[in-house]
């Protein structure tokens, strides 16, 4: 197991170098001049030249890429070209908020999705199953940002239960977490349901029932454990995707997260920010994937035996 984790961590190195190369090349070939964006529509050619010089934009490709990789190894991504703050400071002012939002949304999705999925699988074709499926389909189909908007209007403006925007207190967290978590909850619910249905019909469940196990043990110990593998995959992928930021939801609720910030940095051609931010997202995504793979081992001993 330890060897497996170490091997996976080492495998991240070529992945990250690949990511760095791709971000860098994309930034390099992108048309437009960052010094122009910094100085605006009307700036003298001399000023543009000075800023280009300062940002070392005229250095050859390999020198620029080399210094980027070299600095990245020491976790020094330089300063934002716009604000002049260290990239590290800019990103870590926002990344915890994004982590928190993503984490809470996935937990909300699991808390809603898994029990409902189990319930609708064990009570297949009941009225509950139908309602749960229909609501699930609806929740999965509604875009996050639209649901967020509607919630702000209803619970923020009309009922005045929650603040309409901002981040900081638990009251601020409720609406964005629900808005983002709803569709994931629906997907997890449907995933749990179908995967539970498959397990419930398998031979070992029949055996468990035949030997007189209590139904709750059959469902939660025998069936659920097997059914959780695909659910874990979906939850992990959702969490990973949310680490890149839920741009529209962040915008509506004015959450100081990484997603919107990165979009702005890209449109401003703030290359140090974009490179640092994308690399951080890539690292966290890889780590989350690794974590999911490790979780499999705890859920399913058969998988554990394969991790060598």
């Amino acid at each position: 197991m330890h060897k497996y984790i170490l091997r996976r961590l080492l495998m991240m190195i070529p992945v990250l170098i690949g990511v760095m190369f791709i971000i860098f090349v994309l930034d390099y070939i992108r048309p437009g001049c960052p010094s122009r964006v910094i100085l605006g529509e009307a700036a003298s050619p001399e000023a543009i030249a000075r800023v280009r010089e300062e940002l070392r934009l005229d250095d050859p490709f390999l020198i620029r890429f080399g210094s980027f990789v070299g600095n990245a190894l020491t976790l020094d991504f330089g300063r934002s070209w716009q604000t002049n703050r260290p990239v590290f400071q800019e990103i870590f002012a926002r990344f915890p908020n994004t982590m928190q939002l993503a984490g809470m949304s996935v937990i909300f999705a699991l808390l809603m999705g898994v029990p409902l999925g189990i319930l609708s699988a064990t009570k297949q074709y009941s009225i509950f199953d139908i309602i749960a499926n229909f609501t699930g389909l609806l929740a999965a189909a509604i875009p996050n940002f639209w649901l967020g908007m509607m919630m702000v209007i209803l619970f923020g403006v009309n009922l005045r239960i929650f603040p309409t925007s901002g981040w900081g207190t638990p009251m601020h967290w409720v609406m964005p977490v629900v808005a983002i978590g709803a569709s994931s909850a629906a997907i997890i619910m449907r995933m749990t349901r179908s995967s539970m249905l498959e397990c419930i019909r398998s031979d070992y469940i029949r055996t468990a029932r035949a030997k007189g196990q209590k139904e709750s043990v059959v469902i939660f110990k025998h069936a659920l454990r097997n059914a959780l593998i695909p659910v874990t995959t979906v939850a992990g992928l959702t969490f990973g995707a949310l680490l890149g930021g839920a741009v529209l939801t962040e915008t509506i609720f004015a959450i100081p997260g990484l997603g919107r910030f990165m979009v702005e940095a890209i449109s401003q051609m703030d290359q140090p920010l974009v490179q640092g931010g994308v690399l951080l997202i890539a690292i966290s995504f890889s780590l989350v994937n690794l974590l999911v793979d490790i979780l499999y081992a705890f859920i399913d001993p058969r998988i554990r035996s394969q991790y060598r």
Binding site: P31, A43, P45, A93, F134, G156, T251, I252, A254
Partner: protein
């Protein structure tokens, strides 16, 4: 049975959402009658004699006010709180409260008045003598002297970021602690309005020098920008990156003390979210309401809309280097063929107004030069056709119009232009580029741009700022004149406007320049923007500044 149940359920769910959507816009319609453009009725105009005083203000008795904290929801936070490290509107808005400037520009009519500079005198259009107030102290307690002025202004003069505002300054000579002379690189009469811009804010020399000495240049500048010290009505308190900047009242302010004690600029990027937060009382000022939300805001019982035309002009530029746009008759023909009123009405949904010339009506010395006489039709196809025939294009030609992603308003403008010019045989193709790319492409003399949609804000309020960079032939390309327009008459007039220090004598110069520009048509003038802000009903004392540099120090609540 099941089908019916599902149908009922579906209707119920949809009804919930529809209800939620409707109740947001339903409110008290009586408020909708507030005349657009009017500040709230209780807003005092600049009191006589105080017009020029930056502190001209809280007229409300401090004892009666209930609220001393003021939350402003902004679309962007400052890029830098060092006045010379950035030249964006969000920074200017905050720096305007943190720093004092030598000159104060009245929000009412953009006339210039004494501020830190008690008095001044032009030796010639290139040399300006000034006398400093003696009672000014910075937020850190340092008294302000002419040495601070020299330090602040000279570092601004060599800053690439604010080159367009302070780059014409050569040096400052200090005569004694309170008297100094500003020397310019060339004669430049509009200098006073430039010295009133937040980029010319004065900061404490010894304080910043100490930081730079102890932390080094790079770290020191970054540190100062996040811990700014000025002499404005509010002092810096805290910043949460990506979230908010908090200022507190400067109790040692040299002018009238603001009533507001805490001023919070909070970032809420979505315009509808900003408006809703004012409706619920979470904030008192929502910057830049979306045109589509104006009716909602006017119908809300807790909210008042504050509106005023601003300094921004949207335009369609022609590349004068490229045939057939090198012929002024072709440019005029397009001017005649476009129904700009229709475009503005459709695209901006009642916000702002059709542009009346290359400058906003709010700019000092504005002289209306609307598009040619187009009658009630909004466009004059016959005249357009005549001009095209004269220019040798009776059957029209192919042309391209460029806009920048993701500005969807400009995309709609491009589509309407395509349709309207199609009527006189000009086949327009639409091209979209990212902002950095469109900047890059339009600055080359051999650039392939033909028509492009852009905007310009005359942030100093002086016609020179709105005309010289954009139309003088010395500024071809990236320096601002992206149409590569060359006209000796315009060059002569714009040069003369810089030489003439007597305001009355400058007026006819610019009026003539605007008429020549209209006749030469390097642009089609499209839209004059509007400041559209939603404020809570109990807010008083604010006069909107058309450059967006609102003076929140005068605000009080009742």
């Amino acid at each position: 049975m099941l089908k019916r149940f599902l149908a009922v359920l579906a209707i119920l769910v949809m009804a919930t959402f529809v209800l939620a959507a409707c109740t947001g816009g339903n409110g008290n319609d009586e408020q909708a009658g507030t005349a657009p453009g009017d500040p709230p009725a209780t807003t005092p105009a600049d009191p006589p004699g105080q017009t020029g005083d930056i502190s001209a203000a809280p007229t409300g008795p401090a004892g009666d006010t209930t609220r001393t904290d003021f939350t402003i929801l902004v679309a962007a936070l400052p890029v830098s709180m060092d006045p010379i490290q950035s030249n964006d509107n969000a920074s200017s808005m905050v720096n305007n409260m943190l720093y004092s400037t030598l000159i104060y520009q009245s929000s009412v009519d953009l006339s210039v008045h004494p501020s830190l500079a008690e008095s001044w005198e032009f030796v010639d259009a290139q040399t300006l003598n000034m006398v400093l107030r003696r009672d000014v102290v910075f937020h850190n307690g340092d008294p302000m002297t002419a040495h601070d002025i020299k330090f602040s202004i000279e570092r601004g003069a060599v800053s690439d970021q604010v080159e367009i505002i302070l780059g014409m300054i050569d040096s400052v000579t200090v005569h004694n602690d309170y008297e100094f002379t500003i020397h310019l690189d060339f004669p430049f009469a509009p200098i006073l309005s430039h010295l009133a811009h937040p980029a010319a804010g004065i900061l404490p020399m010894n304080h910043l020098q100490g930081i730079l000495d102890s932390m080094g240049e790079e770290d020191g500048l970054a540190h100062f920008a996040d811990n700014p010290v000025g002499a404005g009505p509010f002092a810096f308190n805290s910043i949460v990156l990506g979230d908010a900047v908090t200022l507190v009242r400067n109790n040692n302010y040299w002018g009238h003390l603001p009533v507001i004690e805490t001023l919070i600029y909070r970032l809420v990027p979505d315009p509808s979210s900003r408006l809703m937060a004012v409706e619920t009382g979470e904030a008192q000022f929502a910057q830049a309401v979306a045109p589509a939300d104006i009716a909602v805001a006017e119908a809300s019982p807790n909210v008042t809309m504050m509106r005023r035309p601003n300094m921004t002009i949207h335009y369609i530029g022609f590349n004068n280097n490229r045939a057939p746009f090198d012929d002024y008759r072709v440019r005029q023909a397009i001017h005649y063929a476009l129904d700009t009123r229709g475009i503005v009405q459709n695209v901006f949904m009642g916000a702002g107004a059709p542009a009346q010339g290359p400058l906003s009506s709010q700019v000092w010395g504005f002289h209306p030069t609307p598009s040619f006489d187009l009658g009630s039709q909004g466009a004059n196809f016959e005249r357009a056709q005549e001009l095209l025939t004269e220019a040798g294009f009776p059957d029209g030609f192919d042309a391209a119009i460029w806009w920048n992603i993701p500005n969807t308003q400009r995309s709609t403008i491009a589509e309407m232009v395509q349709f309207q010019l199609g009527q006189i045989g000009i086949n327009v193709s639409i091209h979209s580029y990212e902002w950095p790319q469109i900047l890059d492409e339009t600055e080359r003399a051999d650039g392939e741009h033909e028509m492009f949609i852009m905007a310009w804000g005359t942030v100093t309020g002086d016609p020179d700022y709105g005309l010289f960079p954009l139309f003088h032939s010395s500024n071809h390309g990236g320096a601002g004149n992206r149409t590569f327009f060359s006209n000796d008459e315009i060059d002569r007039l714009l040069d003369a406007g810089r030489l003439e220090t007597d305001p009355a004598a400058r007026l006819p110069i610019y009026a003539e320049a605007m008429e020549v520009i209209r006749d030469q048509s390097p642009w089609v003038f499209l839209w004059e923007g509007e400041e559209l802000h939603a404020v809570s009903n109990d807010m008083n004392g604010l006069i909107l500044n058309p450059a967006g540099h609102h003076n929140f120090a005068t605000v009080w609540f009742e």
